[in-house]
């Protein structure tokens, strides 16, 4: 999915918010904003949002010397989510369809997305949980996903954000009987999940966890590590979480189930749904 022009103001907002998170120095914040304006002015817009997102957040990292501006935010999100995990596990266990409930909760966790601008606290997450447990969902797609899971020999689950990854753990617990691996980002980018976040969620004790080698808030295959590229190519089913992975993989020929909560008008137009909707959407075919 290519960027839309309305992504441009959103990138400038992201630069401001990241700068504000990492420094109180007004001059430094202004420098970051001016570099962002200049970078956006010169960039081709014939690319995906996460590609430009990486460039914008690189400015913040380079000019502040802070390679992980969202480190604290990510720890906080993991803590909030871990505090909720036990009761959510019970909820799954006692539900009439544990798989669907775990899937809904994994999508609920996708609210923890700092690319979208709002500060996420426990109240926001609780609200997302109660919404996602009751919202309309594409049941045919869930049934199709169940079938594909039972047939697949290599399943790759692409994580999105810290905090959210604790919710992914709930779904992965329901997938344990299948040959699943989980992939996180290779280096810090916004609040996207890294190896340490997968470990905080305890996922490394359940399934294999790999990283994609990049600091892109999505999955641009050509820029990923050779190891990740090979794993991706040999997976016959991909489960992709969140907007950034959707934005970078929506045109992939691979068989991918996208799970996400729609949080921006550009994505909602591309998918053909409304902001706030929860999405289980299959795209692509078996192996490219």
């Amino acid at each position: 999915m290519k960027i839309a022009l309305e992504c441009i103001p959103c990138f400038v907002r992201q630069a401001f918010e990241a700068a504000a998170l990492v420094t109180s120095d007004h001059k430094l914040r202004e420098w970051i904003l001016r570099e962002t304006l200049s970078t956006l002015h010169e960039k081709s817009f014939d690319t995906t949002p996460p590609s430009i997102g990486r460039d914008i957040h690189s400015i913040v990292k380079t000019l502040t010397g802070n390679n992980d501006p969202y480190a604290r935010v990510k720890r906080e999100s993991n803590t909030i989510a871990l505090n909720l995990a036990a009761s959510l596990k019970d909820h799954i266990k006692n539900s009439s369809d544990p798989f669907e409930t775990a899937l809904r909760l994994a999508i609920a966790g996708n609210i923890i997305d700092y690319g979208q601008g709002d500060r996420i606290d426990e109240k926001t997450i609780q609200h997302s949980i109660s919404q996602c447990l009751n919202q309309p969902i594409e049941r045919d797609s869930i049934e199709e996903l169940k079938e594909e899971l039972s047939r697949a020999s290599n399943i790759l689950y692409l994580a999105d954000n810290a905090g959210e990854i604790v919710f992914d753990r709930l779904l992965i617990d329901e997938l344990k009987q299948y040959p699943v691996s989980l992939a996180v980002r290779g280096r810090p980018i916004i609040n996207d999940a890294l190896m340490e976040d997968a470990a905080a969620a305890g996922i490394d004790k359940v399934v294999e966890v790999i990283d994609n080698g990049t600091d892109i808030p999505g999955t641009i295959i050509e820029e990923c590590s050779p190891e990740f590229r090979e794993r991706f190519a040999h997976s016959d089913l991909i489960i992709s979480k969140g907007q950034g992975n959707y934005e970078t993989l929506s045109d992939s020929p691979h068989k991918i189930f996208f799970l996400l909560k729609v949080k921006c008008p550009v994505i909602s137009r591309d998918i053909g749904c409304r902001e706030g909707d929860i999405v289980v959407r299959k795209k692509g075919r078996i192996r490219s």
Copy 2:
């Protein structure tokens, strides 16, 4: 009031929205956005938001050849407001304090502000009316304004937006016994009120209407016409509507009563109130 860094993404958003309003040509929209990014990159931020706002909207006008991108929007706002006017007049007449009610309604009309991004329809305006009629208001300031009105020999009322000006007419009807003139912008800028909007509201039949000679979404005295500057200097009481006039006059030594609905975090910080609040705030002293 100087711009804050968080005004910068807001300007980029304004450029996108104005471009989207005036042309469906993607290449032209992109050109407008790129020029906006470049202009903001080069500008000093040591200025007021309306100064930069004028520059950004000039880009839209120049590149599209459309000198009044919000012409249709302004006509629509006037029509919606005029359709409500008769019942609002009755409401004022039957209220226990017609002056305060008219003042609240004038502030309610300040929701019709296309610099803030949301499309304004009748429902939005009705919502603002019922909010503003019941929100807390600075009663001491209202009493002070009444006193100042009775003492003033030259009162200048600075209008803000089209549509809103119909609500200003309601307040001006309550001020008819005082020596009031109304000032609008000199040339099109966003949805700010011009002479033709004052005429649509019928204000030119009640009080004298002048324009300030500029295309700035606020009042930068040094850039106004000599005639306006003289009128401003000789007024012993200014009534200033909206955010743009506040942003450009908040540091003026003149005695000014600012009437506005707070619609952005930068203004709310500067005034010391919350977004959504309605404000009647006196600043400055008699004559500079």
